[in-house]
Symmetry: C2
Subunit: 222 residues, 2 copies
Amino acid sequence: MRESRFEDLAEQVYRALREMILTGELVPGQKLVQEALSERLGVSRTPLLAAFSKLEKELLVELVPRRGAYVKRLSPLELLHLYDVRLRLEPLGAAEAARNLDAAGRAELEKAFSAYRDCVTDRDAARVRVADFEFHGILMRLSRNSILDRILSSFAIVLASNQRGLMKPMEKSLAEHEALVEAILRGDEGRAESIMHAHLAEARDAAAALAAGAAGPAAGGI
Amino acid sequence: MRESRFEDLAEQVYRALREMILTGELVPGQKLVQEALSERLGVSRTPLLAAFSKLEKELLVELVPRRGAYVKRLSPLELLHLYDVRLRLEPLGAAEAARNLDAAGRAELEKAFSAYRDCVTDRDAARVRVADFEFHGILMRLSRNSILDRILSSFAIVLASNQRGLMKPMEKSLAEHEALVEAILRGDEGRAESIMHAHLAEARDAAAALAAGAAGPAAGGI
DNA sequence: GGTCTATGTTTTGTATACAATATTTTTAGG
DNA sequence: CCTAAAAATATTGTATACAAAACATAGACC
């Protein structure tokens, strides 16, 4: 066994900041002052710096030399671009998950889906968002494509993206997820891929409309 | 103008290490000892740490807590997965580049292509590899999809991937690039996309063969 | 009164110092 | 001669200290 149960402070700080950004405790555009944060988290500035580096690569933080670190604000255009990328990658992941599913994966998938369904039943929008994020994340992990999983889980941003009011009605989304799960459990790669594609294409189009709207009227603030 | 001409030591170190890894000066599996490297680069260990964090997110470095940093070695399977991802993303980039091309982009594209062609003319395999990498990188930049550009340029690894003897004959690759450039200059999105797809599909299949071979005979070392 | 400059304060970037863990070497035992 | 424990060494992780740059404030000049 070569792994280590030890966890970097940098890693903990990274996760703490990520959480704070995703929950909205730190809002887009906000400056991340090193000393204030390190005091708040009870660590020195050193691990903070490493965490900033990681978060910058995930598009959650913007690092301006000599100026500081800021919570990144996604422009409507970047949001659209993000959906364009998801639209290409997640159907691949769904297909590979369908192909590579085993008993353990099946259990994980069913668990994630039922957690999602419960949130929808409760009509708790905030929790639905998180559960949806986790569902997609688990699916990509089940694809057994480590590169794909890495890229997509890197973009925790996808959660932030859903905050912008382009969530579709819960029931519709639930039905799509259900069909997707069913296809994957059956091992139907082609259908899993096309359902995922359709599922994301709508969101992408909503993002496109948003981007088009933002480009016109208001000159779109960065 | 809000940008800053100042450059972090961390950024410089990051680029220096990246270069060293890509040129093979640092070989996969090699341990990156902090003190040795910081002496060699003439900086303290602090900026080195930030650089490690960045490189880890790019899959160029593996960070094992309390054990150290190692130059990551891509397994044949990971290589295949990487091509699966490229196969989905780069055709999108080619299409968007064709759609969004302007005069400046046209000039950049032609310059990158002619640099590439010159390397092929000289039959200098090492330089062809670098020129190919830059050509693809510029193309993704021309797509104007910042997310896409970011993901793919993150994976400097793509260069490393080409080192594994799955480069196709130079003339064939040159012809494909030429057709691609022509399609983009014409603004033919569909054709640009399909050429790029075909261009990468072959490499992907070679990677698949390699992965299948590695999984069978030798039990595939990580 | 407004703008430019000078000074003081805050904040970042980097180096260094120290503590804790991993690795290597030495030494004792079977 | 090989194995196993213990000491010594090396290396990482983290905090702190200091220098340089950015920012804010106040004063002088037009």
